[in-house]
C-alpha cells in the first residue's frame, strides 16, 4: 500500500476548466481594490458621520476596503470560494494557477509556483529598497549643512519614519522572501512549498500593503518615527492610520509566509535529508520565520490597540484615561528586537552557505553554526527592554536585560568562528558574492561592538536616541544584513534568472556601496558621540563636519546601488547564459537545469550526505581521514592541519 492509497480521497468534482479566475490579474486587483475602497468609504461616511474620530475611521475603513478588494480582484479568495460553493479547483485549474506556459503574464497574477513568487518577492524588495533609499537620499541632502532648509520639519519627521518603516519591512523580507521562496524548496529537494496558495497570498498582501503605507504621505504624514510611539501617534493625522493598517497587513503576510516556510522545511525535505544534512541556509531561513511567528503578532496587537485608541476612543496608551505609553513600547520591542535577528540570521546563513562553496571547503563546524543560530533565536526574545533603558520603565530590570543582551554576543561570535574557519586555508574565489562575506565581516564586527556599548546601561543613557544608535543599527541591518542579501542575490542570480550577473559593474557597485557605507556611518558615529540626537531636521554647527561626511558617503551608496540595479537589469535581459552549476556547489538547487521545470525535479532526489563534502572522498561513509601511522593522534592532528 503506498502513501497515495492511504490518502486517496474522493475524486474531486470540479466545474469546467476556466471561468472568471483565468482573467484575474494585477489590473483586476487594482480595479477591485479601488471599487471596494470607494464603497467602504461611502458606507462608512453614512455610518460614522460627525463622530469624533470620523476622519480616522473613514481613512482606516477605506484602506481595509482597498486591501480586501485588491486581494479579491487578484483572485486570492478563488480557491476557498470555489471550495465553499462545491466546485473545487480542478487539476487544470491548479496547473493554470501555477502559471504553466503563461510567459511574463504569470508574474502579474496570483501565481502559486514558488519560483514565480520568489522572483516577485525579489522585485518587490528592490522596489521597496529603491523607495526607502530615495528617502534616505532626501534625508541626507537635508542634513548636508546645519540649516539647509531643504525639507520642512513636518516633511522631514514623516520622511524619517516612512524611510525607517520601508527599510525595516524590506529587509525583513529581503532574504526569506526572494531566496526563501525560490531557493529553499529547490535546496531541500521539494517540488513546491507546502501551501502554494498561501505563498502567493503572502506576496500579494505585501503588494496590497504598499499603497496603504505610502498613502500616509497624502494624509498628513506620520509624526512619530517608524517606531510609532504613543501618545504622539494618538495626536497624529490620518497618516498614522495608514501606518497601523499597513503594519496589520504586513503582520498577516508574515504569519502566512512563516507558517508556510516552516511547514515546508519540516515536512518536505528530500528523502535522506536529515537535520544534519540540511544546508545551513535552510536553518537560517527557518530560524528567521520561526522567530517572526511570535514576534509580529506583538506588533499587530500593539497596532490593534492603537486602532481602538484612535478610532473608538479607547485609552490603552493614553495616560489620562488610565493608559500606559510603556505598554506600547513593550509590545513594540517584543517584536522589535527579535525582528533584527529575523533580518540578520538568514542573511548571515546565506553567506555561510556561499563561503563554503567559494572557499571549496566544508562548512567549519556545522554544529557550532546550528547551535549559534538556535542560541540567538532563543536569547533574542529575552532582550527587548534594552531599547527602554532610558525610558524610565522598570529601572530594576536594567541589569537583567543588560545580561541577556551581552550574552547574545556569545552565539554571534559562533557565527564569526564558522565563517572565519571556513575561509581558513580555503581556495578562495573572490566573486561578488564572496566579497560580500568579507564586507559583512568588516561591517558586522563594527556593528556588533557598537551594540555592546549600547547594551551597557550607563553608556546607553548617554547614547540612546542619538545618531550613534542610528549608525549602529545601520551597520548591523545594512552593513551585515543588506550586504548578505546582495551576496545571496549574486550567488543565486544564475539559478533564478538563468543568466550570469555582469562582473565589472558588480565590482564597481560593491566598492561604491561598501566605501560609501562606511564613510556614511562612521561620520554618523562621530556626530552621535558629539551629541547629535536622532531625527532632527537641523542641528548645531558643531556637527557640520560629520554630517557632511555622512551625506557624501550616502551619495556614494546611492550611485553604487543604481549601478547594481543597472547590472541586475542588464544581466537579466541579455547576460551570458548561466550553466547549470556555475559555482560547482553541492546543494540540490544546482542540480536542476536552467530554465527550471515547473515541478523542479523530474525524479525527487535522495540525499546520502551533507552538501559540504568539498575535498572529501565522494563515496558515503566515514569522512575522517585516517591518521597516518606514526603521526600523533588527537588534537595534534588538528594543529598540524592548521599549519
Amino acid at each position: 500500500m503506498t502513501v497515495a492509497d492511504i490518502y486517496k480521497t474522493d475524486p474531486v468534482k470540479g466545474g469546467p476548466d476556466g471561468g472568471v479566475m483565468r482573467r484575474l490579474n494585477m489590473g483586476t486587483g487594482i480595479l477591485g481594490g479601488v471599487v471596494l475602497a470607494l464603497i467602504f468609504n461611502l458606507v462608512i461616511k453614512e455610518l460614522a458621520d460627525d463622530t469624533v474620530h470620523e476622519v480616522d475611521v473613514r481613512a482606516t475603513v477605506t484602506m481595509v476596503g482597498w486591501a480586501l478588494g485588491f486581494m479579491a480582484g487578484m483572485g486570492a479568495f478563488t480557491g476557498p470560494f470555489r471550495w465553499l460553493v462545491g466546485r473545487d479547483l480542478t487539476h487544470a485549474d491548479e496547473v493554470f494557477l501555477a502559471g504553466k506556459d503563461q510567459g511574463v503574464g504569470r508574474y502579474f497574477r496570483f501565481t502559486t509556483d514558488h519560483k514565480v513568487v520568489g522572483i516577485q518577492y525579489l522585485v518587490l524588495v528592490m522596489v521597496m529598497l529603491g523607495a526607502g533609499g530615495t528617502m534616505a537620499m532626501l534625508i541626507r541632502t537635508d542634513l548636508i549643512s546645519p540649516n539647509s532648509g531643504f525639507l520642512g520639519p513636518q516633511t522631514y519627521n514623516s520622511l524619517v519614519g516612512i524611510h525607517g518603516l520601508t527599510m525595516i519591512l524590506a529587509t525583513i523580507i529581503m532574504v526569506t522572501g526572494p531566496f526563501g521562496n525560490f531557493v529553499v524548496p529547490l535546496m531541500i529537494g521539494a517540488r513546491d512549498m507546502a501551501f502554494p496558495r498561501l505563498n502567493a497570498l503572502s506576496l500579494w498582501l505585501l503588494v496590497a500593503m504598499l499603497p496603504v503605507l505610502y498613502s500616509a504621505a497624502f494624509l498628513g504624514g506620520i509624526p512619530m518615527g517608524w517606531v510609532g510611539y504613543t501618545p504622539i501617534a494618538d495626536q497624529g493625522p490620518a497618516g498614522v492610520d495608514s501606518y497601523m493598517v499597513a503594519i496589520v497587513i504586513f503582520a498577516i503576510s508574515t504569519a502566512v509566509a512563516g507558517a508556510n516556510i516552516t511547514t515546508t522545511i519540516i515536512t518536505m525535505r528530500a528523502r535522506g535529508m536529515t537535520w544534519t544534512r540540511t544546508p545551513i541556509f535552510v536553518y537560517g531561513v527557518m530560524a528567521s520565520v520561526v522567530l517572526a511567528l511570535p514576534a509580529f503578532p506583538m506588533f499587530m496587537a500593539a497596532e490593534i490597540l492603537l486602532v481602538v485608541d484612535r478610532l473608538m476612543g479607547g485609552g490603552f496608551y493614553v495616560p489620562n484615561r488610565g493608559g500606559q505609553p510603556w505598554l506600547y513600547q513593550n509590545l513594540f520591542w517584543l517584536m522589535g528586537h527579535p525582528e533584527v535577528y529575523v533580518i540578520l540570521i538568514p542573511a548571515v546563513a546565506a553567506l555561510m552557505e556561499l563561503t563554503a562553496v567559494f572557499a571549496r571547503k566544508p562548512l567549519y563546524s556545522f554544529r557550532v553554526a546550528v547551535l549559534s543560530i538556535i542560541g540567538i533565536v532563543g536569547l533574542s526574545v529575552t532582550v527587548w527592554a534594552h531599547h527602554m533603558f532610558a525610558s524610565g520603565w522598570a529601572p530594576d530590570l536594567n541589569g537583567p536585560f543588560m545580561l541577556t543582551t551581552e550574552m547574545i554576543s556569545i552565539p554571534t561570535g559562533g557565527l564569526f568562528l564558522v565563517i572565519l574557519g571556513t575561509m581558513w586555508r580555503g581556495r578562495i574565489w573572490t566573486t561578488l558574492a564572496m566579497m560580500c562575506t568579507y564586507a559583512m565581516l568588516w561591517n558586522f564586527i563594527i556593528g556588533g561592538i557598537t551594540g555592546i556599548y549600547l547594551s551597557d546601561v550607563p553608556l546607553d543613557y548617554q547614547l540612546h536616541g542619538s545618531m550613534f544608535v542610528t549608525a549602529h543599527f545601520h551597520y548591523t541591518l545594512m552593513g551585515a544584513g543588506l550586504t548578505g542579501a546582495i551576496g545571496a542575490m549574486a550567488y543565486w542570480f544564475p539559478k533564478m534568472t538563468g543568466r550570469m550577473l555582469g562582473k565589472t559593474s558588480g565590482f564597481v557597485s560593491f566598492w561604491l556601496v561598501q566605501i560609501g557605507f562606511n564613510v556614511t556611518f562612521l561620520g554618523m558615529f562621530m556626530v552621535g558621540l558629539e551629541g547629535q540626537p536622532r531625527r532632527v531636521v537641523h542641528y548645531d554647527a558643531a556637527y557640520h563636519t560629520g554630517n557632511t561626511i555622512s551625506t557624501i558617503g550616502a551619495y556614494f551608496i546611492g550611485v553604487g546601488m543604481l549601478v547594481l540595479l543597472y547590472d541586475m537589469i542588464a544581466s537579466w535581459r541579455h547576460g551570458e547564459p548561466a550553466p547549470m552549476n556555475p559555482w560547482g556547489a553541492k546543494t540540490l538547487e544546482w542540480t536542476v537545469p536552467n530554465p527550471i521545470p515547473l515541478e523542479n525535479f523530474a525524479v525527487l532526489p535522495v540525499v546520502t550526505e551533507d552538501a559540504y563534502g568539498y575535498g572529501e572522498p565522494a563515496e558515503p561513509g566515514p569522512v575522517r581521514v585516517p591518521v597516518p601511522a606514526g603521526a600523533e593522534a588527537g588534537p595534534e592532528e588538528d594543529e598540524g592541519a592548521m599549519a
Binding site: 513636518q154 519627521n157 509624526p223 501618545p231 495616560p319 505609553p325 510603556w326 572557499a359 571549496r360 571547503k361 562548512l363 563546524s365 556545522f366 554544529r367 524610565g392 536594567n398 541589569g399 543588560m402 545580561l403 551581552e406 554576543s409 556569545i410 561570535g413 559562533g414 572565519l420 586555508r425 580555503g426 581556495r427 578562495i428 568579507y438 568588516w442 555592546i452 547594551s455 551597557d456 550607563p458 543613557y461 548617554q462 540612546h464 536616541g465 562621530m526 558629539e530 551629541g531 540626537p533 536622532r534 532632527v536 531636521v537 542641528y539 548645531d540 559555482w583 560547482g584 559540504y612 568539498y614 575535498g615 572529501e616 569522512v623 581521514v625 603521526a631 598540524g640 592541519a641 599549519a643
Partner: protein, 256 residues
C-alpha cells in the same frame, strides 16, 4: 590530507609562516585599535561636565580597548585569507578543493570560553558602572529639580528654592542633583550630553535621573525623543555655576 601538509607537520605550527604573519597582523591591528580607542572617543565626546559623564567616557574607552583585539582577530583572518588563499582566476571543475576541515573541538571550546569571558567582563564592568551612576548621592543633600517637557520647551522648577521656575537650567557645581522628569503631552527625553544623563519624560509619570556637575560652563539640554514638529528646536542651556552664583540667581528669580 595532502602530502604537503604531512611535510609541513614537521614544522611546529607556531613557527609556520601563516602563524607569524597572522600574529604580526593581529598585533598591528590591535595596536592601531587601542590607539584609536584611547584618543578618538574621548576627543569626540568632549570634556566631561559631571561625574556621570566621566564614568561614561571611562566605560566607552575601556570597552573600545577591550574590543580592539577582538576586532583585530576578524580583520586579520579576513585580510590574511584574502591575501594568502585567494584564487587567481576563475574556478574550474578540475581545481582541487581546500582541506576538508570540519571543525576542531578544542578551537570551538577556546572560542566559546574566550567570548564568554569577555561577556562576563562586560557584565561585571557594566553592573559596577550602573550602580555608580544610579546610586543616590549620599555626600550631601541632593538638589531636587522638577523637569517638565512640553511641545517644544523645557521647564525647570526648583521646589527647594520656593518653586522658582525657569526655561533654562541652573546648577550649582559639585552638588548632587536629582531630576524628576515628566511631560505635559507626548514623550520627550531629557538629555544633557555633556553630563551623560538621559531619561524619558513621560506624560502622567515621573522618572528620575541624577548626577553631580563638576565643571563650570554652559552646556546644552536637548530632547532625544521625536516629539513632533519642532523636536529639533527643543533645546535650552544648562548653566553650571558656583554655589554663590546659584543662590544669587534663585534670589533674582524671586526664590527663597
Amino acid at each position: 590530507m595532502s602530502e604537503t601538509s604531512t611535510t609541513q607537520r614537521r614544522v611546529p605550527w607556531w613557527r609556520s609562516q601563516d602563524a607569524r604573519v597572522i600574529a604580526a597582523l593581529w598585533a598591528g591591528f590591535t595596536i592601531l585599535g587601542v590607539i584609536f580607542a584611547l584618543i578618538v572617543p574621548h576627543h569626540l565626546m568632549g570634556p566631561s561636565a559631571s561625574n556621570t559623564m566621566t564614568e561614561v567616557e571611562r566605560t566607552f574607552t575601556a570597552f573600545s580597548v577591550a574590543s580592539a583585539p577582538v576586532a583585530a582577530v576578524v580583520w586579520t583572518l579576513g585580510v590574511y585569507s584574502l591575501w594568502r588563499w585567494r584564487r587567481r582566476g576563475d574556478w574550474t571543475p578540475d581545481d582541487p578543493d581546500g582541506p576538508p576541515l570540519r571543525g576542531h573541538g578544542w578551537l570551538n571550546g577556546v572560542w566559546m570560553f574566550a567570548s564568554s569571558a569577555l561577556c562576563l567582563f562586560l557584565l561585571i564592568w557594566g553592573l559596577a558602572a550602573l550602580s555608580s551612576v544610579d546610586s543616590p548621592a549620599t555626600a550631601s543633600t541632593p538638589l531636587e529639580i522638577d523637569v517638565t517637557g512640553q511641545q517644544w520647551v523645557w521647564t525647570f522648577t526648583y521646589p527647594d528654592d520656593g518653586n522658582v521656575e525657569s526655561d533654562q537650567l541652573y546648577l550649582p557645581i559639585d552638588r548632587p542633583v536629582v531630576f524628576r522628569v515628566t511631560s505635559y503631552d507626548v514623550i520627550h527625553s531629557f538629555w544633557v550630553p555633556a553630563m551623560g544623563i538621559k531619561v524619558d519624560a513621560n506624560p502622567g509619570m515621573t522618572t528620575t535621573t541624577q548626577t553631580t556637575p563638576d565643571r563650570l560652563g554652559i552646556y546644552e539640554v536637548k530632547c532625544a525623543e521625536l516629539c513632533g514638529l519642532l523636536h529639533a528646536d527643543m533645546e535650552t542651556d544648562a548653566h553650571v555655576v558656583s554655589s554663590q552664583d546659584f543662590e544669587a540667581w534663585t534670589a533674582s528669580q524671586g526664590g527663597s
